[in-house]
């Protein structure tokens, strides 16, 4: 078997757009999320805003691009553009805006959008990550 391919700091291409598969947010998602967190939607029939963000980060691991070796999620600036109803289908779209090498690893800023089935942007913002550099030859 070939080893799982991974994306390191050096492999990240600035400006390249990555699209995720889509997922329909159901009553089951809403119910599980509200039970787990006790965070609720502002109105009945709506998806809690942070639930959409959580699902979008999960979808981010299911792209054609190999999985990025993330050492830490550093932070986010996020804007909720419009509310989402239960039953909506969302997907994510992202691009790397900033890449800065550090002594160990590298720092990335990614611009993210959550888009619904009509193509409208529901939420958007920026994530910052600390990611791993490609291991040097000889290391595991």
């Amino acid at each position: 078997m070939r080893p799982v391919s991974r994306l390191y700091f050096e492999d990240v291409v600035l400006g390249e757009t990555v699209e995720t598969p889509a997922m329909t947010i159901t009553e089951a998602h809403r119910s599980l999320y509200e039970g787990l967190t006790s965070d609720t939607a502002t109105e009945p029939g709506r998806v809690p805003d942070l639930l959409a963000l959580c699902v979008a980060t999960g979808l981010g691991w299911r792209t054609a691009r190999p999985a990025l070796v993330v050492l830490a999620f550093m932070g986010l600036e996020w804007e909720i553009v419009q509310p989402l109803g239960v039953g909506a289908t969302i997907h994510g779209r992202s691009r790397t805006a900033t890449k800065r090498p550090l002594r160990e690893g590298g720092f990335l800023v990614e611009e993210h959008e959550i888009v619904d089935q009509r193509g409208e942007v529901i939420q958007r913002g920026r994530f910052s990550f600390l990611v791993s550099k490609r291991p040097t030859a000889g290391a595991a």
């Binding site: 965070d39 609720t40 502002t42 029939g45 639930l51 959580c54 980060t57 999960g58 830490a72 932070g75």
Partner: protein
């Protein structure tokens, strides 16, 4: 309470039972924009984050990153064990604070600026401290923007996450 009620997709014509709140819930005790004061402080109850929370969150979000799911690999990492998803901490924080405060007449969650400063590990007990830092009127006379500064502290009083959230809050009707 809502078992069996299918609201259907947004904007669909699915009939709601008569008792089901159709628009904003107007429960008594919701605080309007005018009643919230800059400088108000809130502290939530504590909550112990368990392995179950992390496993459920991985399943719900689809984020199965090894940081949260591979105990053997993480034993050899700088964290020494699996850590909670940053967004799980953020979501639990939102729930904890809602248990600590009289609810605002919130129309919408507008946005946030957030930093993940340290790991939340299995068995850690977290709580939230929050403070109203700003209130701003908007172009619409029926609402205003309220900014809260929030911190998540663990059982050692270390700040593991912190940031600001903006909420659009209804004004009292004239």
């Amino acid at each position: 309470m809502l078992a069996g009620v299918n609201l259907g997709p947004a904007g669909s014509d699915v009939k709601r039972p008569a008792w089901y709140p159709t628009r904003r819930m107007t429960a008594p005790g919701r605080r309007y924009f005018e009643e919230i004061e800059v400088g108000e402080e809130y502290e939530s109850p504590g909550r112990t984050v368990t392995e179950t929370d992390i496993v459920l969150f991985a399943g719900l979000s689809g984020d199965y990153n090894v940081l949260h799911t591979d105990a053997e690999l993480m034993r050899r990492s700088i964290f020494r064990e699996r850590i909670a998803h940053g967004l799980l901490g953020l979501a639990i924080q939102a729930g904890l604070l809602s248990r600590a405060t009289q609810p605002y007449a919130t129309l919408a969650f507008v946005g946030l600026r957030w930093k993940f400063k340290g790991p939340i590990k299995i068995g850690d007990t977290i709580r939230v401290q929050a403070r109203v830092t700003a209130k701003r009127e908007t172009s619409k006379p029926d609402r205003g923007l309220v900014t809260l500064e929030r911190k998540i502290l663990n059982q050692r009083d270390e700040i593991v996450q912190e940031g600001e959230t903006d909420l659009m809050v209804e004004r009292r009707r004239p």
